[in-house]
């Protein structure tokens, strides 16, 4: 994905740095720094984990933005660039939507939880936690959702191999059976 410059945003950025909905967001929330790029059908705002809660609160509460619909949370394992959490917010009233990418540093997979703002974020964050290992601070009940409770594996990491579990655990030649 094409990468804009990493310097913090200053006031004198030219207009083409804020394509589409990003211009409106920058106008309503000038204090939050983000890098805006265009995806195939929408606009992606790239921020760090420290601005996520502020940006989400601003998107939800600012009249004119009204992003009241927490649509999706995708956790992507970009191997050397850390874990990316891609939020997708949409608005029913204004009928616009935006994608927010939160870039975390490898080794620090902590993000603030948005369950206080959106009740829909609860299960999405649990799933992101168990799939790639992102930890959401402030989540009421962060435990495995789709996997068994005592498993601490993160299947969607690129380092997790796609192979039958018996081979991973070294018991592939044993006679079949399941003790519970």
């Amino acid at each position: 994905m094409s990468q804009e410059s990493q310097t913090p945003v200053t006031e004198e950025r030219p207009a083409e740095q804020y394509p589409g909905i990003a211009a409106l967001i920058h106008k309503k929330l000038p204090a939050i720094a983000f890098t805006a790029t265009e995806t195939k059908d929408n606009v992606d705002l790239r921020i760090g984990p420290e601005s996520l809660l502020e940006l989400a609160r601003g998107l939800k509460d600012t009249p004119g933005l009204d992003f009241d619909y927490f649509n999706n949370l995708t956790a992507v394992d970009m191997v050397d660039e850390g874990l990316h959490a891609k939020y997708f917010f949409a608005s029913y009233r204004q009928n616009h939507s935006v994608q927010v990418t939160v870039v975390t540093v490898p080794g620090q997979p902590n993000l603030p939880s948005l369950t206080g703002l959106y009740a829909a974020a609860n299960w999405h964050e649990r799933e992101a936690y168990e799939m790639v290992g992102l930890v959401f601070d402030g989540h009421p009940d962060l435990k495995n959702l789709l996997l068994d409770e005592d498993l601490h594996i993160h299947p969607l990491l690129k380092a997790h191999p796609l192979v039958k579990a018996e081979i991973l655990q070294g018991i592939e030649d044993a006679t079949p059976g399941f003790k519970f």
Partner: protein
């Protein structure tokens, strides 16, 4: 003469009548309608005090498997997510791949895709309504009525696309093959038969006072709360909010088709959700008829497709109106012939996360009805 204490004095002194909340495990093996889903209910008498849904009993690794397969191969897993409406899921996935790769789809293929997606929507709603009637108490009659029409839709799918449930008829770039030459009379007969089936189900269920009284006023939801919880599809249309992605964010050829969006009476209760689904089935038959009339000629598959699809850096997010709500696909490509990440935002997953709030405060028997009115399919929930 003995002086008996009044009831209030007696209850204040003794704890012999204190009750304890019981934990009931509505386990993963239900009578096979809704799938492998587990609810841990804490009940006080008959009233549900707490409900914890446990999912993951059908987690089959859709997203991990998709990252290790070709763009076209992965479709075999995606249409088994919403296994009641296979071609609807295929449409969302194919649209995501086409948006990533910038592939164009011929217009004839778009109309046929819409036709198949709407027939899948009718098939899915038939099961939703039929099994919902079974949950409320019609001991299999509504289900059998629904299956009669569903088998006829299956026969049509088998004739056109090759398989009943998962034909992988849609491909990135169009369709696998064209409709057979004399499909039209059979499709019109099918539409007529579906309308008759909807009338039969209507007479059986909506005309039944027990059904209506049992469902009316049960678990109402306001629109604001529904938006915050992430409910979509018939759940939010039942609250009175006229939102449909086919109108709000039109995709494919829906902006050229004329159909209404049915909404409920505004309470968002269980009866409204059922009525919205019945009305949506009828609207889908109107859409299919319009597709027959407007169907242009031409190819059904983009002729310039390479043998192996290789897509460079791209990201997209396709929102579609799936049968149960907003079925959206996030796709990321980073070169090569395999997607880097494809995530499914399934409507059943998001609707089900609101179950605790919908069920707490109702009776155990109503908890089953509310779960039936959510219309979940576990392939989507567990991915």
């Amino acid at each position: 003469m003995t002086i008996w204490p009044t009831e209030r004095e007696y209850l204040a002194e003794t704890d012999a009548f204190d009750t304890v909340d019981m934990t009931i495990n509505v386990g993963p093996a239900h009578p096979a309608t809704h799938g492998v889903f587990r609810m841990i209910l804490t009940v006080d008498g008959e009233m549900v005090v707490d409900c914890e849904p446990v999912i993951g009993y059908l987690h089959r690794g859709l997203e991990k498997l998709t990252e290790n397969a070709d763009y076209r191969q992965a479709m075999g897993w995606w249409d088994r997510t919403d296994y009641l409406a296979g071609m609807s899921c295929e449409m969302a996935y194919c649209m995501a791949v086409e948006k990533l790769g910038g592939i164009e789809v011929p217009e004839r293929a778009e109309y046929i895709r819409v036709m198949m997606a709407e027939l899948s929507r009718i098939a899915s709603h038939l099961i939703a309504v039929g099994s919902f009637g079974q949950d409320v108490g019609s001991f299999g009659t509504s289900f059998t009525y629904a299956w009669r029409e569903r088998e006829r839709i299956y026969d049509f799918f088998e004739e056109v696309a090759g398989d009943r449930m998962f034909p992988t008829y849609l491909r990135p770039g169009g369709l696998q093959m064209d409709l057979p030459e004399n499909y039209e009379p059979r499709l019109r007969w099918l539409i007529n038969s579906i309308r008759q089936g909807i009338d039969d189900l209507d007479g059986l269920l909506t005309g039944n006072e027990i059904f209506v009284e049992r469902c009316r006023g049960l678990s109402p939801v306001t629109t604001e709360r529904a938006i915050n919880l992430g409910l979509t599809g018939p759940m939010i249309r039942a609250t009175g909010y006229r939102w449909d992605i086919r109108r709000a964010v039109p995709y494919s050829v829906y902006d050229q088709l004329d159909f209404e969006i049915p909404i409920g009476n505004g309470t968002g209760d269980v009866l409204d959700r059922y009525l919205v689904r019945m009305a949506e089935m009828y609207q889908s038959t109107l859409i299919v008829e319009q597709c027959i009339e407007k169907l242009p000629g031409g190819l059904v598959l983009n002729p310039d497709l390479p043998k192996t699809l290789r897509i460079d850096d791209a990201e997209c997010y396709i929102r579609t109106e799936g049968t149960k709500g907003e079925y959206s696909v996030y796709g990321m490509a980073r070169g090569g012939n395999k997607p880097y990440r494809m995530k499914l935002r399934s409507p059943s997953f998001c609707n089900l996360s609101a179950l605790k709030e919908l069920v707490v405060g109702h009776y155990v028997a109503d908890a089953v009805i509310i779960l039936g009115s959510l219309d979940i399919v576990l392939g989507e929930v567990d991915k």
